[in-house]
Symmetry: C2
Subunit: 146 residues, 2 copies
């Protein structure tokens, strides 16, 4: 059990840092998320960021498009969350879980409803990469997870 | 203080897993290291592995060559270690430290002498990539770090 109920505990345990409110992407999230870049954007060919979700927070269904390579890796470090690909069961995320998100696969990720959650997101370089943001994860789907 | 003195404590705290003795690279290390791949080699364009060093263990000076991009990222998760680029002071590594190792820069990394240490290594894709392994980190240099 790695669930974390308070922001204070999360700030203590997540050594990569919570960073700032993720305002640029807030329109694609339900709930509050935070973003802390871990590499200098544009300086390193692979971009890393620590993404933190408050309990209940998740991003919308989305797709990392690429014509070659691309996609994203999630390195789960603190708290507990969910990852789900369209048409598959949700996967429970706990510290130590690493998820390889292939390019061109519709998916979402976020916190569990009763825990803060952080993962380091690794942007996998590719050709003609773009993100397509789709509909929110419905309360019906999300609340049924346990 | 994040130092870890015993293998038992390390196995408890390093949620990414210690994996197997890093025999393939043992010739380029002083002391015992361990390797646990976190992505499927060849399946994902970015290769991730958890590398664990026993106290005193470090790799030789080495260079990640590339004609474009390349290099490596170190995501420090557990215990304490060192990273040093040639001609610069060693940098203390603790949980939450992220190091961007540029291509074509001579460097080494490893544990502190009194702590186990783990980092996730992220291989940054590039063109014409290769690793050049050089001389060991001398006891004189290493023992002077504190």
């Amino acid at each position: 059990m790695s669930k974390i109920s308070s922001r204070e505990e999360m700030e203590l345990l997540d050594t990569f840092g919570i960073g700032a409110p993720n305002d640029a992407f807030a329109q694609y999230f339900i709930g509050q998320s935070f973003l802390k870049p871990l590499t200098v954007f544009g300086k390193c060919p692979v971009f890393l960021a620590n993404v933190t979700f408050e309990p209940g927070c998740r991003n919308n269904w989305h797709i990392h498009h690429a014509t070659k390579d691309g996609g994203q890796l999630l390195i789960c470090t603190t708290g507990e969350g969910w990852y789900q690909e369209e048409g598959k069961d949700a996967v429970s995320l706990t510290p130590g879980t690493v998820i390889t998100i292939p390019a061109n696969v519709k998916h979402w990720h976020g916190a569990k409803k009763d825990s803060w959650f952080s993962h380091i997101a690794v942007e996998v370089p590719g050709e003609n990469t773009s993100a397509e943001w789709c509909e929110p994860v419905s309360d019906t789907l999300y609340e049924a997870l346990c």
